[in-house]
Symmetry: C2
C-alpha cells in the first residue's frame, strides 16, 4: 500500500476532525447543512448543467432533471436524518429481579467516520461527487473525501467549489468535504483514517477497489454498485396481447441516456422461437446514434458489439452501423435460449444502447436460463393477470434487488422504499443499497450503552426521547406520543423524488 | 478452492431445497419450528449438560445456565420473527401525478440462503452448533450447515441428533440443519451454494475464513466475532472511593468461566502510578486454578503468560504459578501507560484468566493509549457522578460496540437492544452483531417489488398488512392499527434472557 502525500496526509488529519465535528451535530443541524448545500447547488444549476453537458455529452434536458434529482436527494436525506429511524434506537430497561438480572442497556447507531466516494461516469450529478453516496454519508455524520470521475474533471472542481463555499457560509469545517487528487484515491482508500468506501462503476473497477479495502490492516466496508443486464421476461399471454407495445417499450427503455444506465434492459426473453431479426429491426429503424460518456466507454461498447456479432447463434437485427468517436447506434440482437445456455457470455453487460432478445420455447427453459444468471439490480416481468407467475417472481427475487411487473427498469425512485442494489456482481454487498433512505445504513454501526445515567446517554437514547424519534422500547416499536395515534395520520412522503422510464432522470 | 466430496455435494443440493422451503414458511410456522427445537433441547437438558461438561470441563452450573440461555435465545428469535420489524417492510404508493410519476414500490427483506456456521469453543451451547448464529439464521429463513468445534465433538453429534429429530417430528426437511464433517468445512465455505458464513473464535481463524469467503468467485458476507481485551477505565474519584471494590470486581469478572469469555476484562486502567504488585496480589491470592477448554487454549494461555512475564516493565502480581495440562491459575499484571504506549503487544488478548492493570498519571495519557487501541467488543468506565467523563465516553464509543458505566463487561443480555460486535478486529463487520435481535439482520437482503398487483406481492407488503407487522408507509413508521395507541401499551420484552457478571452464563 503506497502512502499518501504529505499534503493529503495533513488534509486527512483535518478530515478526521471534521468527521468528529459532523458526528456531534444535532440531527436538525446536519439536516440544515444538507438543505443549504441543496440551495447553493440550485442557485448555480445553469452553470452546473452546462459544464456537465460539455463534458458528458448528455442532453441538457436530461442533465436539468438530474440536477433536480441531486438536490432533491440531498433534501430527502435531510428528512431521513430528522425522522430518526436510521438511528435504530432501542431501549431495554433494567430488570433487577430477573434471573440473572438485566441492567439497563440501550442501542443506537453512530457514524463510521471518514468515507471515500468514487464518483460514477454515467450520472455526473446524482452519482457524482455530491451525489447519493456523498449525501448519505454526510447524513450519517461522516466526512467525505471524493474522487471525481475522469470523464468530467471540470464539473468536479465546480461542484466541489460550490460545496466548499456552502460549508464556509454555514461555518462547517471545510474538511467535511474534500475533492481528492485522483492519483491519490487508491492510497487514500488504504489509509487507516478512512472507515468506508463507495463506488459506482464497472465490475472490474469495483472488484479491484473492494480487494484493497478488504486487504488493509484494518479492513473496511466497501460498497460497489457494479454491473447488471436487468433481464426482462415476457410471458406467453403478454406476448400475444402486447408484442408491439413491449418491443417499442424495450427500445425506449434501452435508449434512455443512450443505454448508459445500470438499470438498462440488456436482455429480453420472449416466448416466440420464430421471432425474426427483420421484425426486430423495425423497432430500431427510427433511432439515431447518440453520444457516449467517454472515449473508453465508446471503445468498450464497440468491442462488445464486435464480440456479439462474432458469437455463433447471435444475429444483429438489421445492418450493424459502426459509428466513430463517442457515438453509438442502438442495436438489438436476437438469439435462442439454448444458445445463451451454452454461451452465457452473450448475456454480459454491454454498457451502451444494446439489448439481446432471447427466444425461449417453454417456461421451464427460461427459468433454467434465469437460474444460471448472475445477480442483478433489477428483473422485470411482462405478464397478464390471469397467468400464474409465482415461480417466475420467486426466481427473479432470488437474483435481483428489484422486481418489476409490467414496467421497465430504467428510472429509480429516490424514496423510502427503493432498493438499488442486488446479489453479486450487481452490488458488492447485497445487503446494502445506494439510492434513497436505505443508503445511509452503509455508513453507521451500532453502540450499546449499558447502565448509563440518563444525562450521560446520547440524545437518541434518553428516556424522555428529546429527539422525538421512533424507538423500540422493551421490544416494542414505539412512536412519539401524540394526542392521537401517528398511525392514523400518515405524513406525505417528503422529497420522494422519482424518475421513471423515459424521464430525463431515468437510471 | 478444493471442491466438496460427492456426499457433501449431494447434501448441499438438499440444503438449497430446504433453504427455499424455510424461506417460504410463514412467520408463525418458522417461529414454531424454533420454539419446538427449544422444547426438544430442554427435554434432553441433563444429557446435553453432562456431555458438554465432560468435553469442555466447564462447571455444571455454568452449563445449566448456558443451556437455559440457548433455548431462551431460540425463543427470542421466534418472537423476533413474528414481530416482523426485521423484514423492514416499506411501502411507497404510486404518485401518478408527480413529475416524473412514481410507480407503487415496496421493499422487504428476504433470506440470503444457506449459511455456514463455525461454532465457538467457549460457549459449547449458546455459541455452538445450535447457538445464536444457527438460531438467527434459521429465523431469517436460511438453512444452516454447521461445523462443530473440535473441543466438543460428542456434544455436536448429540445436539445435531436432537435437532434432526425435532425437524423430523415437525415434518421440516432435514437438510434445514446439517452437521458438517469438519474436514470439509472450508470447502463448503467456498461452495457456490453457500450464501453467508459466521464464526466465533480467534482473530487468526476468523481472518483466514473471511479471506476465503471474500475471494470466492461470488464473494459472500462472513461474520467473524473475534478478539477483544475489553478495557476498563477507572477515574480518579472512583479509584479514591471504590479502589477495593473495583479490584475485587475485576478479579471476579476476569475469572468468570476462567477468563474464557470474549468480553473478559483484559486491561484495567487505574489513576495510580504507585499501585504495587503486592497490593494486587492480595486480590488473586484466594483464587484457584481452573480448567481451560482445550489443550490448545491451555498452550496458548501459557505462551501468553510467558510472553508477558518477559516483557520489560510488566510485572506479575505475586508469584507466577505454572499449571500443567488444561489448568490455569488466574494472574494479574501491573505496568505503566508509558510502557504500553511503547509495547502495545502487552495489551493483546490472552484468552484465559489474565488481566493487565495499567497505571496512568493523567486523563490525557489514558485517552492517548485508548485512541491507539484496536476495536473492542466492550469498554467500561468506573466513575463518580460528579466527574466529567464525556470525552472518555466518546473515545470508548469510537472503539467499542458496547460501553458500560460502573459495570463489568462479562454478561451479555440476549435482548432487543444488545449489540455484540465492534470495530475490527472485535468483529469482521462492525455493522453487525451476533447476539439478540440484531443478529438476524446478518442473513437477509432487501428486494423492492415495483408496480405489483396486491395479490402477487409477498405477504409483508400487501396493502391490508395480513401479518400485522410494523411497516413504513409513504415514509411514516406505521404500527398495526388498534383501538388505542400501541405506544401506550408496552408489551414486555419477551425472552429477554440475560446474563450478568458472576452468573453462569456470563460471556
Amino acid at each position: 500500500m503506497t502512502g499518501v502525500s504529505s499534503a493529503t496526509d495533513a488534509r486527512l488529519h483535518e478530515v478526521v476532525t471534521a468527521s468528529r465535528w459532523l458526528a456531534a451535530t444535532s440531527l436538525a443541524e446536519r439536516a440544515t447543512i444538507l438543505r443549504e448545500i441543496a440551495v447553493d447547488l440550485d442557485e448555480r444549476a445553469a452553470e452546473i448543467v452546462a459544464v456537465a453537458a460539455e463534458e458528458s455529452l448528455l442532453p441538457i434536458d436530461r442533465l436539468r432533471g438530474e440536477q433536480t434529482r441531486t438536490v432533491n436527494q440531498l433534501r430527502l436525506y435531510a428528512d431521513v436524518i430528522e425522522e430518526g429511524s436510521w438511528l435504530d434506537a432501542s431501549i431495554t430497561h433494567a430488570k433487577p429481579d430477573a434471573s440473572p438480572p438485566v441492567q439497563d442497556h440501550r442501542r443506537a447507531n453512530v457514524p463510521l467516520g471518514p468515507v471515500i466516494v468514487f464518483a460514477a461516469s454515467n450520472f455526473p450529478l446524482a452519482f457524482g461527487i455530491v451525489g447519493t453516496d456523498t449525501a448519505s454519508a454526510l447524513a450519517a455524520g461522516c466526512a467525505v473525501v471524493a474522487k471525481g470521475h475522469p470523464g468530467h474533471p471540470r464539473l468536479a472542481v465546480l461542484l466541489a467549489g460550490i460545496v466548499q463555499a456552502s460549508l464556509a457560509r454555514q461555518r462547517v469545517p471545510d474538511a467535511a468535504f474534500t475533492l481528492l487528487d485522483a492519483d491519490e484515491a487508491v492510497a487514500v482508500l488504504g489509509d487507516a483514517r478512512i472507515t468506508a468506501g463507495s463506488f459506482t462503476g464497472s465490475i472490474g473497477g469495483g472488484t479491484a477497489l473492494k480487494r484493497i479495502a478488504e486487504s488493509r490492516e484494518v479492513p473496511i466496508p466497501f460498497y460497489a454498485e457494479m454491473g447488471s443486464v436487468n433481464p426482462v421476461i415476457v410471458t406467453a399471454a403478454a406476448w400475444r396481447n402486447r408484442r408491439t407495445e413491449i418491443l417499442s417499450g424495450l427500445v425506449d427503455s434501452m435508449t434512455v441516456s443512450n443505454g448508459q444506465l445500470c438499470t438498462s434492459p440488456g436482455v429480453l426473453f420472449v416466448p416466440d422461437v420464430a421471432l425474426s431479426p427483420e421484425e426486430l429491426a423495425g423497432f430500431t429503424r427510427d433511432t439515431s446514434a447518440g453520444s457516449l460518456l467517454t472515449d473508453s466507454i465508446a471503445d468498450g461498447f464497440r468491442a462488445g458489439v464486435c464480440g456479439l456479432s462474432e458469437t455463433a447463434g447471435v444475429e444483429a437485427a438489421g445492418a450493424l452501423v459502426v459509428v466513430e468517436g463517442r457515438s453509438a447506434q442502438p442495436v438489438l440482437w436476437v438469439t435462442d435460449a439454448s444458445i445463451v445456455e451454452a454461451s452465457p457470455d452473450a448475456l454480459e453487460e454491454r454498457f451502451g444502447p444494446s439489448s439481446v432478445v432471447v427466444r425461449y420455447d417453454s417456461q421451464s427453459q427460461v427459468l433454467r436460463v434465469l437460474a444460471g444468471m448472475d445477480g442483478q439490480l433489477t428483473a422485470s416481468i411482462f405478464a397478464e393477470p390471469e397467468e400464474e407467475i409465482g415461480p417466475l417472481v420467486q426466481v427473479l427475487a432470488s437474483k435481483a434487488g428489484r422486481v418489476l411487473l409490467n414496467a421497465w427498469p430504467t428510472g429509480v425512485a429516490v424514496s423510502w422504499s427503493m432498493h438499488h442494489g442486488g446479489p453479486w456482481p450487481a452490488s458488492s454487498s447485497a445487503q446494502f443499497g445506494s439510492v434513497g433512505a436505505e443508503a445511509i445504513d452503509r455508513f453507521t454501526r451500532a453502540v450499546t450503552y449499558q447502565n448509563f445515567a440518563d444525562d450521560l446517554l446520547p440524545l437518541p437514547l434518553r428516556e424522555d426521547n428529546p429527539l422525538r424519534i421512533p424507538r423500540r422500547i422493551d421490544g416494542v416499536v414505539t412512536l412519539v406520543e401524540e394526542p392521537v395515534c401517528r398511525s392514523t395520520m400518515p405524513r406525505s412522503e417528503t422529497s420522494g423524488f422519482a424518475s421513471e422510464m423515459g424521464s430525463p432522470l431515468s437510471r
